[in-house]
């Protein structure tokens, strides 16, 4: 027989999986308070290059990590293969430079903390004081 406490834990775990979210983060001092999904989508598709206030955005991707797959699906409705092919077209046509990469969360945190114009994403809310969440994308 499953103990009530164990059952509660399982239910909470399932609930947290069902309500998983991706957190889009910037530097704490970035003037942007919040962003909508379209604005983040435009940055990750290289359709825009700047934040709303006019500063150039430095956009970070997460290499080969599970959160990347979830982020691309939730934000763009694309799988990784589609996204890689899309960026290959842009980069090798000489239209844009490749996305910056920060595979590990700690690495991303350092990069975003050190650059007021950096933007990236995490699979949990940032606990570091030098980062802030500008968009939460539910899955």
């Amino acid at each position: 027989m499953i103990k009530p406490i164990a059952l509660t834990s399982i239910l909470l775990l399932l609930a947290s999986i069902g309500q998983a979210e991706i957190y889009v983060v910037t530097n704490r001092d970035n003037p942007v308070a919040t962003m909508d999904k379209q604005a983040v989508r435009d940055l990750y598709l290289a359709r825009s290059r700047a934040f709303e206030h006019g500063d150039a955005a430095i956009v970070y991707d997460r290499g080969n990590t599970p959160v990347r797959k979830r982020f691309l699906t939730a934000l763009l409705g694309m799988n990784e293969r589609q996204f890689d092919a899309y960026w290959a077209r842009l980069v090798f046509a000489g239209r844009v430079l490749p996305l910056e990469q920060a595979e590990q969360a700690d690495e991303l945190r350092k990069r975003v903390a050190n650059n007021i114009n950096a933007i990236g994403y995490l699979d949990e809310a940032p606990t570091w004081p030098d980062l802030k969440t500008v968009l939460v994308i539910p899955e």
Partner: protein, 450 residues
């Protein structure tokens, strides 16, 4: 039998006209911009934090067909060997790209590509070398050597990983000679909601080395005042594109024309035939080509479809002219995509045939001082007129398997029907018998990017 040595002896270019005087120093010497861009990338940024980005792409491909006296080419500007039935050369490629950013608005990119071509060298391998400047975020200005942007896939047509198929449909992409342009371009783009618009203009010059169909000789084709204008729109799952391009050729003279005009004085069938050949070849010496293009694409993650139509007209017949297009439909099943393509090129030039017997004529001394038989002159004339002609269609079926991130394996079967005397997308002997051909091409390719 004497094999006609085609084409390169036929066109003698006059001295190249001087470039238009522009105030842009980098345009005035595009090579300078290319060298500058290369140096900038290699030397690296002057700021403290290194920012050199290295990326690349490649394909190891094998293609096999069994057609006698016809040999597969991916592009008409590859090396040609009519006896070859299977090879890794047409589809295999390796590209290395170096990029750096000096400031938010200034960058440089250089791309070196190793692939099969008539001549290998650093100049040929350098497909991109430009400086890019963005005075505002929506505007990109570039100077140096850029990918030419004539058609939907033109500026990344060699990056096979980025495309669904083993190669872009030959009927639309096999005959586009130049891949890069030396000059300037400007692109203005903006997003409004889910509508992303992009306008682009390119201007410059380029050249392409093209081998005779039997690979015996190569000659350089120059394009001047090359203008490419494009308008594209991406919205939702759709993308659309319209473009118009035109270019001038340096004016040249075929040395065959005066020879044929001399023969045309002979009364009867021989003279009439020589006159008609001279008229066709005289048309080769003026110089303008125009390309129109329209395309639409759809991708919902499961289904992927592309339609592209093009029209090409030219006043010089060494490039194919006519209508071209393809329709491609693919269906994704997790990491595997199955696809089918139908592509066609409708040529608008009629091939000629040598019907008269020229053997009674005496030998002829050509402007180069060599003596040829009249029959040889006739065969060379026919081969020169028919050499660039193109009329064919292809059904293709294939599978793409995304084996791992940034790695794909593809297999493809192409069945191509080629009209007689219109083999310009294939290597062939100049004296190949005039007959329709059906070619089955089997290909496998391994694509990667990094």
């Amino acid at each position: 039998m004497v094999k006609p040595k085609v084409i390169s002896i036929l066109v003698v270019m006059e001295e190249k006209a001087p470039l238009p005087r522009l105030s842009f120093a980098l345009y005035a010497n595009p090579l300078l911009a290319c060298i500058l861009a290369s140096l900038c990338v290699i030397v690296g940024p002057v700021k403290a934090e290194p920012d050199l980005q290295v990326s690349g792409f490649g394909t190891l491909g094998l293609s096999v067909e069994r057609e006698e006296n016809l040999s597969f080419l991916r592009d008409s500007n590859q090396s040609k060997d009519p006896e070859k039935d299977g090879s890794i050369l047409p589809d295999s490629i390796l590209g290395l790209q170096l990029s750096t950013r000096f400031a938010a608005d200034l960058r440089a990119t250089t791309q070196f590509v190793y692939r099969d071509r008539p001549e290998q060298g650093l100049e040929e391998a350098t497909e991109l070398a430009f400086l890019g400047y963005s005075p505002i975020f929506d505007l990109d200005l570039r100077a140096g050597r850029m990918a030419i942007d004539m058609f939907q896939l033109s500026d990344y047509r060699r990056v096979d990983y980025a495309n669904l198929w083993i190669r872009p449909p030959k009927e639309v992409y096999g005959w586009i000679l130049p891949s890069s342009i030396d000059g300037l371009d400007a692109a203005y783009s903006f997003a409004r909601g889910d509508y992303y618009w992009r306008f682009k203009l390119q201007y410059g010059e380029t050249d392409a080395l093209l081998e005779a169909p039997d690979g015996s000789q190569a000659f350089k084709n120059e394009f001047e005042n090359f203008i490419v204008s494009t308008l594209s729109l991406e919205t939702g799952l759709w993308r659309f594109r319209l473009s118009y391009s035109q270019a001038d050729f340096p004016v040249g003279t075929s040395p065959l024309v005066p020879v044929l005009e001399g023969i045309s004085l002979v009364p009867g069938l021989i003279g009439d035939e020589a006159q008609s050949f001279a008229d066709r070849l005289r048309g080769q010496t003026s110089g303008e080509v125009r390309y129109w293009q329209a395309s639409a694409g759809y991708d919902d993650g499961t289904w992927i479809a592309d339609l592209e139509l093009a029209y090409l007209s030219a006043t010089r017949t060494w490039v194919p002219t006519g209508k071209a297009g393809y329709l491609s439909i693919g269906r994704r099943y997790d990491n595997v995509t199955a696809y089918g393509v139908f592509a066609r090129f409708y040529g608008d030039q009629t091939p000629v045939k040598g019907r008269a017997d020229w053997s009674p004529l005496p030998d002829i001394t050509a402007p180069d001082g060599q003596v040829y038989t009249a029959e040889f002159i006739r065969d060379v004339s026919v081969a020169s007129i028919n050499g660039p002609l193109l009329e064919q269609y292809t059904f293709s079926l294939g599978l793409r398997w995304d084996v791992a991130p940034k790695v794909a394996l593809k297999v493809q079967w192409d069945r191509t029907k080629i009209e007689a005397e219109q083999y310009s997308l294939w290597a062939h002997e100049a004296n190949r018998a005039a007959s329709d051909s059906i070619v089955n091409l089997y290909s496998v390719a391994f694509n990667f990017i990094f």
